[in-house]
């Protein structure tokens, strides 16, 4: 539209966004209400419109795997990864591979964790980190936990390195950044399973496949944080480096990367948390460890044992998260003159002493070397008793909730979603797009959904969308008031925020334990898991939004004589809404992830098909399904973030 800039300011094709909104709303209503008189092709995407995307992708994959010989490359890579995995496996749980010096006694590893925790965050952290490993050993889960950790130890540095390299390249080249950005967007919204299928095709199953899928999954956030870190180095620091006569390489090596330390370490933290989440899920492709145990136990409904494993995973998550966060926040500190080398490196030396001590002690006191099966404690019996009692006591309530949800909400809503003609959905999206962001948003939304329509998975998509809608609404009903009430007090805000932060570090798989416990294996359990998972970001952002309102605005409204609730509704909430919407956005993303993961306890949506694609290693189908989920996510993300941004601008925040 060159040359008619006057026209475009009046809107698309001369009509304002408002007009277009009404036009598309009318089209939506007509298409939906008079569905009967329109041809069938406007209701459901006709077969002739469906493109065999999956076949094309499969054809492409076969081509690069066999004809281009990529299988040899991937074999070579997986060989290297396997070699690294064997080293950690030998050291951590004594797998009979080179260097054949393991296993390190559990007590020595627990002591390592203890000293590490103490050096990073003092007593509290040392108790968490040391305690985690003692718990794991005492509960007899040592080998599984070490299987899981050995993969994380290998995958994390590889992901960090790849992320650093790509992040730096993207920072250096605008074009590369432009190409990378949409890929990262899709990658960060694709469900975990979509990554697994191609890996199974190229690598196979087992620990090395688990490690590689973990690396692939964990790289995108590292790229993002590296790029962000490099961009946010203060210009004067860089100019200072330049004036010191640094060459381009010196500037990167000595000035930019060290100054971006905090962001890069936050990237490392995210990598580790992603690794943990993925390693646990990689049990679906034969990755041994805690995840596999949990999967087996959940499938056979052994609640007590799964809770034990769940606690271990949660403890590992908290330890890894807190330690890396403390590392990221740590500031350098100087030692007074004349401090001896032992004091300067007191943590290193005390670790060395403890480590050697426990290795030696292990030779004499076997239980410090290995806790045998028959020596392990178990709390599964009391847990099962407790859970049984709880389930029986709550049964009338849970039964009623199930009945109510299924008959009055789930089934009607689901039928409604399936009833709406796909053309009406497209028109509605255009209407919303025009309302929020003009013609660009309208195009983005309709194109994403049009692609879904011609992929042949329309009904499954609508079921997924319906599950997510229900879950997010319930999550909002729970999370929003909780956030509002927590935000009234300083202490309650802090406590709830801490809880939310901790809950967010848990691998998504964990959320299935309590719902399976309460509801068994069915639709309501899936919704329950999604609701739990999605309520966390909602609560969190509600608190943050309400707490971060400029105190002067609150004081001004108080001085105008507003009551607590008037202040809330007239001043704080309107200012906090853009931030709360960011929480809604995250909650939708989390729901999408969770819906797919929860599929193995029984749904009929995209997740179920994804599971099938995984068991048949159907790359094409898996990727198409993954992209559909990604498109739904990206569309919602675009709409909410556009709205939130323009709202913030209108309110003059940031």
């Amino acid at each position: 539209m060159l040359g008619n800039s006057n026209l475009s300011s009046n809107g698309f094709l001369g009509l304002s966004n408002k007009h277009w909104t009404f036009v598309f709303l009318a089209i939506t209503l007509v298409l939906a209400l008079f569905k009967g008189i329109f041809p069938e092709g406007l209701t459901r995407p006709p077969e002739s419109l469906v493109f065999p995307f999956a076949d094309w992708i499969n054809f492409f994959f076969v081509f690069i795997r066999d004809d281009l010989g990529l299988i040899h490359v991937s074999r070579a890579i997986s060989g290297g990864v396997e070699w690294l995995l064997d080293i950690t496996a030998n050291l951590l749980y004594g797998k009979h591979r080179w260097p054949r010096i393991g296993p390190i006694p559990w007590s020595a590893i627990a002591a390592t964790a203890f000293v590490l925790g103490y050096s990073l965050g003092g007593w509290r952290l040392s108790l968490i980190s040391g305690g985690t490993f003692i718990w794991i050993a005492v509960m007899g889960q040592w080998k599984w936990a070490m299987e899981t950790l050995s993969v994380i130890i290998v995958a994390t540095p590889i992901s960090v390195l790849i992320g650093l390299i790509f992040g730096t390249l993207a920072w250096r080249s605008k074009i590369f950044e432009r190409i990378l950005n949409p890929i990262l967007n899709v990658a960060q919204t694709m469900p975990h399973f979509a990554y697994m299928i191609p890996v199974v095709v190229f690598i196979g199953v087992g620990p090395k496949a688990g490690a590689i899928v973990t690396v692939i999954f964990a790289v995108p956030p590292m790229i993002r944080m590296t790029l962000l870190g490099l961009k946010s180095v203060p210009p004067e620091v860089i100019e200072g480096g330049k004036m010191a006569g640094s060459t381009g390489w010196q500037l990167l090596r000595f000035v930019r990367v060290p100054s971006a330390r905090t962001e890069i370490l936050i990237g490392v933290n995210q990598v580790i948390m992603q690794c943990l989440a993925m390693v646990v899920l990689a049990s679906f492709i034969g990755m041994p460890g805690l995840g596999q145990k949990l999967l087996q136990l959940l499938q056979s409904l052994k609640i007590g044992k799964s809770v034990e494993i769940g606690i271990s995973i949660v403890l590992i998550a908290i330890t890894l998260d807190r330690c890396t966060q403390a590392w990221a926040k740590r500031q350098p500190i100087h030692f007074p003159k004349g401090t001896s080398i032992f004091l300067r490196h007191k943590f290193f030396f005390s670790w060395l002493v403890l480590f050697v001590l426990f290795v030696v002690l292990g030779k004499f006191i076997p239980i410090l070397e290995e806790v045998k099966r028959n020596q392990a404690l178990s709390i599964s019996a009391p847990i099962e008793v407790g859970v049984d009692w709880l389930v029986i006591t709550l049964d009338p309530v849970t039964q009623w909730i199930r009945w109510f949800l299924i008959t009055w909400i789930l089934i009607p809503l689901r039928n409604f979603y399936l009833w709406v003609p796909f053309t009406a959905v497209l028109a509605l999206l255009a209407c919303i797009g025009f309302r929020i962001g003009g013609v660009r948003s309208a195009l983005i939304c309709t194109i994403f959904f049009a692609l879904i329509a011609i992929s042949g998975w329309w009904d499954r998509t609508m079921i997924t969308v319906y599950t997510v809608t229900v879950a997010v609404i319930i999550a909002a009903i729970i999370g929003f008031p909780m956030g509002v009430f927590a935000s009234f007090g300083d202490r309650s805000s802090k406590t709830i925020l801490l809880i939310c932060d901790t809950l967010q570090t848990f691998p998504s798989f964990i959320y299935l334990i309590p719902v399976v416990m309460l509801f068994g294996v069915n639709d309501v359990a899936v919704i329950g898991a999604v609701v739990l998972f999605a309520a966390v970001p909602l609560t969190r952002y509600t608190i943050e939004g309400l707490r971060n309102v400029d105190p002067q605005i609150i004081e001004a409204s108080q001085m105008s004589g507003a009551t607590k609730y008037q202040t809330l509704f007239k001043a704080r909430l309107p200012m906090a809404i853009p931030t709360i919407m960011v929480g809604v956005n995250q909650s939708v993303m989390f729901s999408l992830f969770m819906v797919i993961i929860a599929a193995f306890i029984g749904t009929q949506d995209l997740g179920q098909e994804m599971q099938r694609a995984l068991s048949f290693t159907d790359v094409g189908k898996g990727l198409v399904l993954g992209l559909i989920v990604s498109f739904i996510g990206l569309m919602v993300d675009h709409l909410i973030m556009t709205w939130s941004y323009s709202r913030k601008k209108a309110l003059g925040i940031n």
């Binding site: 203060p234 004067e236 620091v237 860089i238 100019e239 200072g240 480096g241 330049k242 004036m243 010191a244 006569g245 640094s246 060459t247 381009g248 010196q250 000595f254 000035v255 060290p258 100054s259 330390r261 500031q331 350098p332 500190i333 100087h334 030692f335 003159k337």
Partner: protein, 347 residues
């Protein structure tokens, strides 16, 4: 005094920010006003600046925020490339230098101090100061020794193992100063070095800075938005507005004869007698008509400092001498008194 040498020279330089500054600049005449350029979507950070800076001189570039002063000094160091014109440093056109030559120039001749210090947070004071030496590949011991010397010079001895975060703002800026001096630069750029400090510390740092300058006698380009600071430190002041230099002259001349209305706004509130020196008000080198004092006064003194003499010794003219006893000219008592107490316009 030896023949003064020009260290930095620039003629008609421009720096525009925008989509296609070179192309745009070619299409407009030199006298296009700032507002017109802004309307066309460009920011004229530096406009038509010509300046010669001589060896050992301290030139202060003064302007309000957005006047282009920081951009100008970054052009001198070629942290920014200018859109048009040439800048010569020691006779070499820095615009034509290769990346490598430029790095060598910065490693050997230039030092810069920044408003927000620009220190590396992960390095100790010592390693920050030694950083430029490390970049040019000096050995560990040599650079340590030199850095320690600089740290002592700025009065931070004993704190070399501290991290920037552990120091106050004033101390951090001392580190910045030490770092910029580590390579013994000939040219010293200071970009609002004291603006981020609170007023008491600022005063102290200015004294410290004058002490250093007395010892080192560098060619200095000093940026500030503080007119008092400029008057206190400068050999010459260049006042900038909208990217152009309004006036460039000695503090005496700026106060006595502001060239534009904009400049005179700054001088309005200034107590002139405290600023103007006897040598800045010289009338003629030959003795004019009227009574002449039988003693001479020192040209370096301000009118305020001479107030007692002016009131007690009733001569029409006083001979003015420099510190070597060389006669510079004569000071008119009436003019000096008017500067001291204001012109007689009452009633």
């Amino acid at each position: 005094m030896t023949e003064s040498k020009t260290v930095i020279s620039c003629s008609n330089i421009w720096k525009l920010f925008g989509r296609n500054p070179e192309g745009y600049l070619q299409g407009i005449p030199d006298d296009t006003p700032y507002e017109k350029i802004a309307e066309d979507g460009y920011i004229a950070a530096v406009r038509q600046v010509s300046l010669d800076i001589t060896e050992g001189e301290m030139i202060v570039i003064m302007g309000l925020s957005g006047s282009g002063k920081s951009t100008l000094v970054r052009c001198f160091a070629r942290l920014l490339d200018i859109t048009r014109g040439n800048i010569w440093v020691d006779g070499e056109d820095i615009g034509k230098m290769s990346e490598n030559q430029l790095i060598q120039l910065r490693r050997k001749k230039m030092g810069m101090v920044f408003q927000n210090f620009g220190l590396l947070p992960h390095r100790t004071v010592l390693n920050n100061v030694a950083f430029p030496l490390e970049m040019r590949g000096q050995g560990v011991h040599e650079r340590r020794e030199r850095a320690m010397e600089m740290i002592d010079l700025v009065g931070l001895g004993g704190r070399e193992d501290y991290y920037p975060r552990e120091l106050s703002g004033g101390q951090q800026q001392r580190v910045g100063i030490a770092r910029s001096l580590a390579i013994e630069p000939d040219i010293w750029f200071l970009d609002e070095p004291f603006s981020a400090l609170d007023p008491l510390i600022r005063r102290e740092m200015q004294d410290e800075f004058l002490r250093l300058q007395e010892m080192l006698n560098k060619t200095i380009v000093f940026i500030t938005h503080d007119f008092d600071e400029a008057l206190r430190l400068a050999d010459r002041i260049a006042i900038m507005k909208d990217g152009a230099i309004e006036q460039c002259d000695t503090p005496d001349q700026i106060v006595l004869k502001p060239a534009t209305e904009y400049v005179s706004k700054f001088t309005l509130e200034i107590e002139k007698a405290r600023v103007v020196h006897a040598k800045g008000m010289l009338q003629a080198t030959r003795s004019p008509e009227g009574s002449v004092a039988n003693f001479s006064i020192l040209g370096e003194k301000t009118i305020q400092e001479l107030a007692r003499t002016l009131v007690n010794e009733e001569f029409e003219f006083y001979p003015v001498e420099d510190s070597d006893g060389q006669n510079l000219g004569f000071l008119n008592r009436q003019e000096a008194l008017e500067l001291l107490i204001g012109p007689n316009n009452a009633g």
